[in-house]
């Protein structure tokens, strides 16, 4: 018998109307779990980070790959200010300056539609020297954790004969930040973000 979602009861409490629906694949078979808002909130499955989902399903005696069908489940959020992509969709504004790196995927398309261009060519603060004139900064190579980060970068770096310039490092760090955000490794993302701002201020101080 098929029951329309409007009449489904919550699988957990069996009393409230189910409003949150998951699909899960177990032993190659598709199974569905339906929860009311209250139970879903209690189990933390509507939490954007979605971390509690596996625990809940274990608690229900299931172990499998799961997929939450709610919109907010695995949403990208800014490690600095907690802003999410759907916040952006709602307001058209970002939460903080770091959001521009966190949500940079697809941003260029948006900017092209808005401004026709995606590269800044106007005034630059004195503490951010123009790109082509940037001198090499030997003292940067003495920073141990910066080295770690560039080495642990998962994307294979092209063989370099010379020391990478601070700007190469900066762009590599930014790439790593974007990767770690994609992988939802927020601890790493926060570390990278700090390293980036440290490097940026070093470049600025020169």
């Amino acid at each position: 018998m098929t029951v329309s979602p409007a009449h489904m009861k919550c699988d957990l409490c069996q009393t409230e109307k189910a409003t949150v629906f998951f699909s899960q694949v177990a032993d190659g078979k598709l199974q569905k779990v339906n929860l009311c808002k209250k139970c879903a909130d209690e189990k933390g499955v509507t939490d954007p980070t979605g971390f509690a989902l596996a625990d809940m399903l274990e608690g229900m005696g299931e172990q499998s790959q799961t997929e939450v069908a709610t919109l907010d489940s695995e949403e990208l959020s800014c490690p600095s200010c907690g802003f999410t992509q759907s916040d952006f969709k709602k307001t058209g504004r970002f939460g903080c300056a770091d959001c521009y790196h966190v949500f940079d995927e697809g941003l260029d398309g948006l900017l092209e539609a808005m401004h026709k261009h995606t590269q800044h060519v106007g005034k630059t603060p004195a503490s951010f020297p123009d790109l082509p004139d940037l001198p090499d900064l030997p003292e940067l190579q003495d920073l141990p954790d910066l080295q770690d980060i560039t080495e642990s970068d998962s994307t294979p770096a092209p063989a370099e004969e010379t020391e990478p310039s601070p700007l190469d490092k900066l762009s590599k760090l930014k790439q790593a930040l974007s990767n770690s955000v994609e992988d939802e490794d927020y601890e790493e993302a926060a570390r990278l973000r700090d390293a980036i701002s440290q490097l940026e201020s070093q470049i600025g101080d020169s």
């Binding site: 903080c96 300056a97 808005m114 401004h115 026709k116 261009h117 106007g122 951010f128 701002s197």
Partner: protein
């Protein structure tokens, strides 16, 4: 400086004429700036906003241009006082609605004003009479360069100044001019003009910005794109377009004078009659008639000296200014009466428009 002192001084742009000031009322430039490491105001908690305000207020107040400034938190201003600042174009309508952790700093001449924690941490504005976009930008640029030494701006080599809304990325600059275009309105070319401006990346809005009505035949034209173009280019582009619009407006006026001189006389004469003799007048009606008297000045039917009176009246007859001058809250009906009183007093020296130049031309035509 106290609010009452600020009020006693009409803004410099109202009193001093600038280049092309028959058609260009004011030129304004604003820069959006944010500090790194803090959420943007719209996403920030109250404490974050207070921290920002504390951080930016003293560098702002100690600027050479801000000597003897008016500096206040939005929570310390009454609703009417905030509205007065909106009517003088010193803060935005959005900013007037802000509360804790938001503030405003401006100089005595009201040529420079800064909103703290509007949509961005800093929104700085320079305003000049007539067509002086570059001069306005230069004065603001200087302030910006002084501030950047004290304040860690959020900046990125690709995206430029990082702003809450991506539409302001890059230069963070919006430059705009307030144009008086009765000729294009009367000849029904205005919609076409607005669409044309939109096509080349410029926005045209009413008297008080986005979504406001074009009262008094006043239109604000501004750049939309801020990324991928520099400050000088933005201003040069806008200057070229404004110069063209001035030309179009002048042509439209001449064409009306040629084709329909009686309609023109009727509009200006009617405005004179109403403003001189009305005892109850709404803001909208007054503004539209004042626009016609201003047009009369431009065309030589009304003495040139009246232009300044009209400029001051355009602001003084607005609701909050009326209530400040009455020193109490007024109902809309009371405002309409006070508005008519103020206009009659201000225009008491104004003599009937002199249309003899048109008549002579017409007689000449008849002779030929």
């Amino acid at each position: 400086m106290r609010f009452s002192t600020l009020l006693k001084n009409p803004a410099e742009w109202m009193r001093t004429p600038g280049p092309e000031s028959d058609i260009v009322i004011t030129s304004r430039v604003r820069l959006a700036r944010n500090l790194t490491g803090h959420p943007f105001p719209g996403w920030a908690r109250k404490e974050d906003r207070l921290t920002i305000m504390e951080e930016v207020r003293s560098p702002l107040e100690s600027l050479a241009e801000m000597k003897d400034s008016f500096s206040e938190e939005m929570t310390k201003l009454s609703a009417i006082e905030k509205q007065v600042l909106v009517e003088r174009h010193l803060i935005s309508r959005e900013h007037a609605a802000k509360g804790t952790g938001c503030g405003t700093v401006m100089n005595r001449k009201q040529t420079i004003s800064v909103m703290i924690n509007e949509e961005d941490h800093l929104r700085m504005q320079a305003i000049r009479p007539g067509l002086q976009l570059l001069a306005a930008y230069r004065s603001l640029d200087q302030i910006d360069s002084t501030l950047e030494a004290d304040l860690p701006y959020a900046f990125d080599h690709q995206y430029g100044y990082l702003t809450a809304c991506p539409t302001n990325l890059g230069t963070g600059m919006r430059s705009s001019a307030m144009l008086h275009l009765p000729g294009l309105v009367l000849s029904e070319q205005i919609n076409q003009t607005i669409q044309g401006a939109n096509k080349i990346g410029l926005a045209v809005r009413g008297l008080y910005g986005e979504g406001t009505e074009a009262l008094a035949n006043l239109f604000q034209i501004s750049n939309q794109n801020t990324l991928g173009t520099n400050e000088q280019e933005i201003i040069e582009h806008l200057n070229r377009v404004i110069t063209q619009l001035i030309e179009n407006e002048k042509n439209a006026r001449m064409k009306i004078l040629e084709d329909r001189p009686t309609m023109m006389q009727d509009q200006i004469g009617r405005a004179y009659a109403v403003l001189k003799h009305a005892h109850i007048i709404t803001s909208k009606e007054a503004l539209n008639h004042l626009s016609m008297i201003r047009l009369g000045c431009d065309l030589g039917f009304v003495p040139e000296e009246e232009r300044e009176t009209i400029n001051v009246l355009l602001t003084e007859i607005q609701p909050a200014h009326l209530q400040i001058s009455a020193k109490r809250k007024l109902t809309p009906e009371e405002r309409d009466i006070l508005r008519a009183d103020i206009i009659r007093t201000s225009l008491n020296r104004l003599t009937p428009p002199d249309f003899s130049t048109i008549l002579t031309d017409r007689e000449n035509e008849d002779d030929e």
